[in-house]
């Protein structure tokens, strides 16, 4: 169990070494992985206008990245069921550390820094039992494995933190085993949930009324309200919710059933807007994003749109044709942006 004391011990383990900060890199606002025109993969920094600030090569296609809150370090996760993650110095492009999932575990593609950047938390699969796990890694000890705890469900995918370091985990509910790749092994019995974890203890778990909606991607409003992007395991034409919203101790609400057909029941990413109470979901299979204000969705059409992130004044989007839409306008780069756009601290 990861206690507060363990956090402090981990934090004090190494001496302070000057390392590049995000400011040294021209203050990128976002990180995003992409496939380049020649077929190579790379991780990019983008500023708030969508211009590129840095590029570091990746050995293969990634999924999401976790950005250190201070150091110009990013952890790029392999696509599930990958067993490695790379800690990259975004200033030099060097791979500082290579995280290998412990025996019997693989990564799910997402992670988050907590304890002011001293601990990295990663979603993992204990594939012998199918139990979801959260792995903890000690940043100052060269990302040594510290500990692990149950994720509170099966198939934990995105993990985020609230301002008090409560971890929020999207347990997608879908069991897979590396021997059968991404094959879904338990579609008839899946029970996804959203789990809140504080100091290693599950403090609240919520489920949707429809268990066939996999909770895969989540985003937190500063007040702690969680937006969940859903992926239907039903017929893509079946009307199902695409977005769920939950705040601890309150009732869960769902939205978007009227759009699920055109979105093929599949949400790729979710983000809160930086101002107001707007939520964006992306639907790459519907070539559109939908932005919820109160109870009404506004549609944004872009081919293969998937990445979305909060900005200071609103939202930014990336798509598989190289488009970047920000509050400052649109740009196009000769790359295919991968699933997620990761906002650096704003």
């Amino acid at each position: 169990m990861l206690s507060r004391r363990r956090f402090l011990v981990a934090g004090g383990a190494a001496a302070a070494v000057p390392t590049p900060t995000w400011a040294d890199l021209g203050k990128p606002a976002f990180l995003a992985a992409a496939r380049e025109a020649d077929g190579d993969f790379a991780l990019f920094g983008l500023d708030d206008t969508g211009a590129l600030t840095f590029r570091v090569p990746l050995p293969q296609r990634g999924h999401a990245a976790a950005a250190h809150p201070h150091r110009a370090e990013a952890v790029a996760f392999a696509r599930r069921p990958g067993t490695f993650a790379l800690v990259i110095d975004c200033a030099s492009g060097q791979v500082l550390h290579r995280l290998s999932a412990p025996e019997g575990r693989h990564f799910y593609g997402h992670g988050v820094f907590i304890d002011d950047g001293r601990i990295l938390a990663t979603t993992e699969n204990d594939f012998a039992t199918g139990d979801g796990r959260i792995g903890f890694w000690d940043v100052r000890a060269g990302y040594a494995r510290l500990d692990e705890i149950p994720s509170g469900g099966i198939g934990p995918h995105e993990i985020i933190r609230l301002s008090d370091d409560t971890l929020v985990v999207a347990n997608g509910g879908i069991r897979t085993h590396p021997d059968s790749g991404r094959e879904k092994l338990n579609i008839d019995t899946i029970r996804p949930n959203l789990t809140y974890i504080r100091a290693g203890q599950v403090i609240e778990t919520v489920e949707l009324s429809d268990p066939k909606l996999s909770i895969r991607h989540i985003a937190a409003h500063p007040d702690g309200t969680i937006a969940m992007g859903l992926q239907s395991q039903r017929d893509p034409d079946a009307p199902v919710a695409l977005l769920a919203v939950h705040r601890r101790g309150r009732l869960l609400r769902t939205f978007g059933a009227e759009m699920s057909g055109v979105c093929r029941g599949y949400v790729g990413s979710v983000a809160w807007a930086g101002t107001g109470r707007r939520i964006a979901i992306t639907a790459p299979r519907g070539n559109r994003a939908a932005i919820l204000t109160d109870d009404t969705f506004e549609t944004l059409h872009r081919p293969d749109i998937c990445g979305v992130a909060m900005t200071r004044s609103g939202l930014a989007f990336t798509d598989g044709t190289g488009g970047v839409l920000t509050d400052h306008g649109a740009r196009k780069h000769p790359v295919a942006w991968d699933n997620h756009l990761v906002a650096l601290a704003v």
Binding site: G39, G268, I305, T321
Partner: protein, 318 residues
């Protein structure tokens, strides 16, 4: 990776306007087909309540939609307009149920406002096909109300194209135009419509009645009540050939589409009733294969030139 291997030469071709001519596709295909849909549905709405005259007008309107149904981008996808023009496939006979409800509700429910609020399945060409081809257009007032509603939907699609959407495709990257950032994006959107139209024709218009060898489903054919199932496939293919010819310099695609169109001319099975008979079924399958071949050739020939690599994220499934 393979997709990009062919890019270096493709990029060079892209500079030639003949490869992706959005203006030509809009002026010589999209807008005329959309105008035609609006005109034919208006003509149907203006036809007096005579079953014979209505049948002829219905057939023209139905085939005008077959020739425009691939143009789902933009105005037709807004407010569910495409579904309001033709609710098909109709797995659970929603059109039959919706129409019965409208009849029970009586003339008060047949005003333009009430029809526009009715179940989408009870509106459009599917409902009109039943009334006009099966019920001698009775009750007359309902037939006229539904055809008026259909014409209004088609007019809204026409106006949407003329009053903004076509210009948006012609001026990519303009102020506020996030939908089309570059000319190749507008071309790619039309190319996607071409492929989707061919896939829909092969998988749905032909695939639904074909079902499987052990379970053929002739009663699932589009427009079987009006006898237009094969005509609809032919109208769609002729229109998709027109799109391919105006959008790109794609001789192999046009040859493949010509082969598919010739197959429709040889097929003497207007509503695909033969899908349950092994011999006749083979001929429908041959047509389906020809359409799929045309789709694959278009994907290679035109897609490579446009540098379109579909589905980096949509196919990822994570």
């Amino acid at each position: 990776m393979k997709l990009f291997a062919i890019l270096p030469c493709a990029v060079a071709v892209l500079t030639s306007p003949a490869v992706a001519d959005v203006d030509a596709a809009l002026d010589r295909h999209v807008l005329p087909r959309i105008d035609d849909l609006a005109a034919e549905t208006r003509a149907l709405a203006d036809t007096p309540c005579d079953a014979g005259q209505l049948r002829a007008a219905f057939d023209d309107a139905a085939l005008a939609w077959s020739a425009a149904s691939h143009l789902t981008l933009g105005p037709a996808e807004e407010n569910g307009r495409a579904r309001a023009i033709l609710f098909w496939p109709d797995e659970r006979d929603s059109t039959g149920r919706g129409l019965r409800l409208l009849m029970q509700q009586g003339a008060d429910a047949w005003t333009p406002d009430a029809i526009a609020r009715a179940s989408v399945a009870a509106r459009g060409l599917g409902a009109l096909e039943r009334l006009i081809h099966e019920d001698d257009a009775q009750p007359c007032a309902l037939t006229l109300a539904l055809s008026d509603d259909l014409a209004a939907t088609a007019a809204a699609i026409r106006d949407g194209w003329h009053d903004g959407f076509a210009d948006m495709m012609r001026t990519p990257g303009g102020p506020g135009n996030t939908r089309f950032l570059t000319e190749s994006e507008a071309a790619a959107a039309l190319f996607t419509a071409l492929l989707a139209g061919l896939e829909y024709t092969a998988d749905t218009r032909l695939g639904r009645p074909l079902g499987t060898f052990d379970d053929p489903r002739p009663a699932r054919a589009e427009y079987r009540r009006s006898g237009l199932s094969l005509d609809s496939v032919q109208a769609a293919l002729v229109s998709l050939r027109e799109l391919a010819a105006t959008l790109a310099d794609a001789p192999r695609t046009l040859e493949a589409l010509d082969r598919a169109i010739a197959t429709t001319e040889d097929l003497d099975d207007p509503v695909f009733a033969g899908v349950a008979d092994p011999q006749a079924r083979f001929r429908v399958e041959t047509l389906q294969t020809a359409v799929r071949e045309a789709r694959n050739i278009a994907a290679t020939e035109i897609g490579a030139a446009l540098g379109v690599s579909a589905g980096f994220n949509s196919a990822d499934g994570d």
